[in-house]
Every structure is written in C-alpha cells, then in structure tokens.
C-alpha cells in the first residue's frame, strides 16, 4: 500500500514539473503576469479603476491590462511611498518587444502615463532596490466614439455636403 502511494506521489511530481515530461518553453510564452481587474467605483465620476499596492523589487512585477479599446483613454499612475526610493514602469503593447513607454518616478515620487490602445497592455513595475513600497492606479474611461456622418440624407440635400452627427 505504502509503495503504491509513494509511486503515485512520484508520478504527481513528474507531471507537475513540465520540464520532466519534455514541455518546451516557447519564445512566445507570456511571462507570469497578474491580471488587472477594473471596476466601477462611486468615488470616480466616470470610467473604471483598479488599484494595486505593495512592494516591488529590482526584478519587478508584470501586470496585464486586457481588452482595451482604442476609443478609451487609459491613465496609469505609479506612486512610490518614499520619493527618494525611485520606482519605474514600462508599458508594452507586445510583451516580447521593446517597451513603448518607460519612465521613473519624479522628485515627488510620481510617474504617470496617458494613452489609448487596442487590445492588451503589459505593465512592468520595478524599483532600483528591493522592497520598495509602491501604489499603482489604473483608470480607463468610457469609450468615446468618433463622429458618424449620416448616409441617409433628405432628397433636398442629396449630393450636398453634410455635417457629422454626434454619437
């Protein structure tokens, strides 16, 4: 009975560790990321927000902000609790490529990015020493759709220039 049990345990370890059963790591495999979940909050007038607080390290933490629309504005604010301990942030559209934006906290311990994009965004938060306390705010606006010109026009103005309709 004991032998069977320990054989089963060994099998579990083998299966758990992918490298022992020959699982190849692809260059396209995503790094370990924490998903940012946005939610509505009555204290913020419009859009959705997410807040994360904790300590970061030299190695940094990878976060993913999924499913954005080009019609939404995104603001990401990084705050270092102690302005003398600088923290940094990188934003990537494709995680494997070079960061699209990067920067470090200023003398007040703040760093903000503002952008629009379609799809997912990878956010890497890091520090220049270990155990630096940071706060990360993410705000995503409601979608603002561009104007749509009417295609059905009264006969009297057919062929004339028409103005845009507001969404």
């Amino acid at each position: 009975m004991q032998k069977i049990f320990f054989s089963f345990l060994l099998l579990c370890f083998v299966l758990l560790d992918g490298t022992l059963i020959g699982k190849e790591k692809s260059v396209m495999d995503e790094p370990k990321t924490y998903l940012i979940k946005l939610k509505k909050d009555p204290s913020v007038k419009s859009g959705k927000i997410a807040y994360l607080g904790g300590v970061t390290t030299k190695k940094g933490d990878n976060l993913k902000l999924p499913g954005l629309s080009i019609d939404q504005e995104v603001r990401v604010v990084l705050i270092s609790d102690n302005p003398s301990k600088k923290a940094g942030m990188e934003l990537r559209k494709f995680y494997w490529a070079k960061p699209n934006r990067k920067g470090v906290t200023n003398s007040k311990g703040e760093y903000m990015e503002r952008f629009r994009t379609e799809g997912d965004v990878y956010i890497k938060v890091f520090a220049f020493e270990d155990n630096v306390p940071v706060h990360l705010f993410v705000w995503v606006s409601e979608p603002k759709l561009p104007p749509m010109k009417p295609v059905l026009v009264p006969k009297s103005s057919f062929g004339k220039r028409v103005t845009h309709e507001k969404e």
């Binding site: 049990f5 758990l16 190849e24 692809s26 260059v27 396209m28 924490y34 909050d41 204290s43 913020v44 927000i49 807040y51 994360l52 607080g53 904790g54 300590v55 970061t56 390290t57 933490d61 976060l63 080009i70 019609d71 504005e73 995104v74 603001r75 604010v77 705050i79 934003l91 559209k93 494709f94 494997w96 699209n100 934006r101 903000m112 503002r114 952008f115 629009r116 994009t117 379609e118 799809g119 965004v121 938060v125 940071v134 706060h135 705010f137 705000w139 759709l145 561009p146 104007p147 749509m148 010109k149 295609v151 059905l152 026009v153 009264p154 006969k155 057919f158 062929g159 028409v162 845009h164």
Partner: protein, 209 residues
Amino acid sequence: MGVSQNRKIAFIGFLILFFITLPVAAGMNLQGSPPDFAKMNEWLQKAKDANKKASKLDPSSDGDAEKNYNPPGMPTMPISCEKNNKKGCEECYKDAYEKLRKLRRYFEQLRTIYAATDDYTKAQIAFGDGIAGSAGVGALQWNVERTKIKKSFNDFKKAYKEKYNELLGRLENVLKEIGQCEAKYFGNEDWYSRYGYVFLSFIAMYYQR
C-alpha cells in the same frame, strides 16, 4: 493501516500542498489593498485639464485600429421622407435608420479587431524570425511555433469572414426595409436597386479581407 501510518500520509499530503502553493504566493508582491481614491481623483482632474485626446501607445498598430465611420468614397442615399412631412413616414424609417447606424458601428468594430490581430500576428512572426536564426534546434522549434501562429490567424480570418457575411446579410435586409418605406410612402419602387445596392456593394468591398 495503523494510526501512525495515517498521520504520516497526512503529513506528506500537507508537505505536497505546501510546496505546490508556495511558489505561486511567493512571487505575488503587488496585491490589492484599500485604495486612496482622493489621490486618483486628483490625477483624473489633471487629465481633464489637459483636454486633449490621449496619444496612441503604439502609433503603428493603434493607428490601423483607429475607428473611422466615414471611409473615403462612402456613398450617401437620398430619402424622400423629410422633417415635418405630413405623410407620417418618419415612423417607417426610424427603426431601419437606427439599425443602419448600429451595423456601421459593428462593421468598423470588426475591422478594428482584424487590424489589431493582423498587427499582433505580424509582430510575433517578425520577432520570432529575428531571434530564431536559420539553422539549428532554435530554428526548428520556431518553425513549429510559426506554423501554429499562422494557423491561429487563418482560424481568425475564417471567423471574420463568417461575421462579415452575417453583417452583410443584415445590412441588405435593413436597406430593403428602407426601400419598402420609399415604395410605400413615395412610390419609389426601385430605391434599393438605385441607392441601397450601391451602398451595400461599397461596404462589402471596403470590409472584405
């Protein structure tokens, strides 16, 4: 099986659980905690002051994804029902008019998703081609990956085509509804073939991939 054996097994079980869960929790440095929303509102206020459209994160791929409901060359369609028309025709057009606006939005949404997926796939392949080299194990592994990426994009293209056909069918019905209103209230029996069909053909060509 004795009591001591049971304890041993329980202890080993506990150790296994401990070692499985430990690596997951250890890396989780950033965790949610009570927010300081006053600070966030301060930052959002700064955003309002700027009052400018935020720039694109990736000008190339996000530029392709930018929505445009008025593509160059899009035809307009004349309708006989005008405001203050005594015939009460507005009700007939109202529903079709809204449906048409929604469909234009869906078509553009579909194009945006296509553009984003196309750019993502191209970026993946360019990156892999760049680092894999042309020979050796790396190249072989990449070749397998490359095939998977291309297959995934082909599957996406099939899904696009299905949605595109569905939306085109719905657009055709809406334009025919407008044609019926034109015929019912103003006797324009050939409105669909003169104007609706031209618009449908433009949309079909513009969103075809």
